[in-house]
């Protein structure tokens, strides 16, 4: 099993902590246990219409997955013909995700990607599912104001008017109302990698990441890195991306 330097990893958020930089500053960090992710399929433009690398994460009992998924992962193959294709036997992996990134590294099915692909100071995007807040009123969801609580007011947390009268006879699309808040994919962009621990598959990320502790996250290379400006005051060791700004200091 070869290693691929794929900057796309599935992982689990393990919570937040803080650490000291060399000069004694405290930085807030999210700890993510990411990878190792196994390449499960290579999608090509010719065959699938787009190029991507599909990776799987978190080994589980085969029983947990459906037969079609097991077949895709090559688990069934190893069951039927144990002897001849033992080497190609796939693992049962709970989560599959596809990376559609530019200049993808050459990978073959079975390759493993780890946090070693990331380095200190690098900018990354982290995707997670935000915590569900349930069905929230307009005050919580859109920062509406509240009506008066007393003097016979019947409008305390009501949304108020949602439109006009006979003309136009309907409520405009996009009018802000109560909604199911949270539990949505959210990508925290351009977060900086504070530290990487390949031995325990941990990656320390500056700042917060969507989702609960233990929630699934995807760590990937920053899609739209910001134009050079004042460097965030965190990492001493400069990478290619954080390097030039640091020179001023």
């Amino acid at each position: 099993m070869a290693q691929v330097a794929l900057k796309f990893l599935i992982g689990r958020k393990r919570g937040m902590t803080q650490r000291f930089t060399e000069d004694g500053r405290v930085v807030p960090l999210t700890v993510v246990e990411a990878g190792p992710c196994t390449v499960t399929q290579i999608r090509s433009a010719e065959k699938d219409g787009y190029a991507a690398i599909q990776v799987g994460f978190e080994e589980c009992r085969p029983k947990v997955l459906s037969r079609p998924v097991l077949g895709h992962l090559g688990v069934l193959k190893s069951e039927s013909a144990k002897a001849d294709s033992a080497a190609k036997a796939g693992k049962a992996l709970r989560v599959l995700r596809e990376a559609r990134i530019k200049d993808m590294p050459a990978a073959t099915v079975g390759d493993v990607a780890t946090v070693a692909a990331f380095e200190k100071g690098e900018l990354i995007d982290v995707e997670g599912i935000s915590k569900g807040r349930g069905f929230m009123g307009t005050i919580r969801a859109h920062h509406f104001n509240r009506g008066p609580a007393s003097h016979g007011s019947m409008n305390i947390r009501q949304p108020g008017s949602v439109g006009s009268s006979a003309d136009p006879s309907h409520t405009f699309r996009g009018t802000r109302m109560a909604l199911h808040l949270g539990a949505k994919k959210h990508t925290a962009k351009n977060l900086q990698v504070f530290d990487v621990d390949p031995n325990s598959n941990l990656i320390y990320i500056y700042g917060a990441v969507a989702g609960p502790t233990g929630g699934l996250v995807v760590v990937k290379r920053a899609k739209t890195p910001p134009p050079p400006r004042k460097a965030p005051p965190t990492v001493k060791k400069a990478s290619q991306k954080g390097g030039p700004e640091k020179a001023k200091k």
């Binding site: 919570g15 937040m16 004694g24 502790t213």
Partner: protein, 130 residues
Amino acid sequence: MQFVTRIERSFQKENAPSFRVGDSVDVHYRIKEGDRERIQLFSGVVIAIKGGGMRKSFIVRRIVQGEGVERQFPLHSPRVAEVAVKRHGRVRRAKLFYLRHRVGKATRLEESFQRTDAKSESKSGGQAKK
């Protein structure tokens, strides 16, 4: 949370200074002046220890030119080089904020001679709780 607490342990100081609330201490604090690094002393009474794990910090109070000065130090900060205990005060509460209202002689704390071996004692007592 357990996962993170376990990780945090590896970033904490192995021999974190041990002291208690009420102790008079000298905090050796690393200060950077340009390229040079020197150690500054801040001596006073520990009036509070707060937080746990990586976030554990303490507040030291002293009187400078008649004015009360308090400084909070993160225990595990690399800038806190050493905390030398000068004297153990006999106190009956965990936070000594009442000292803020006192002036002069009233701010003195009775010395505790029972806890002259407090270094080892507080290590097992105070540290284990983290």
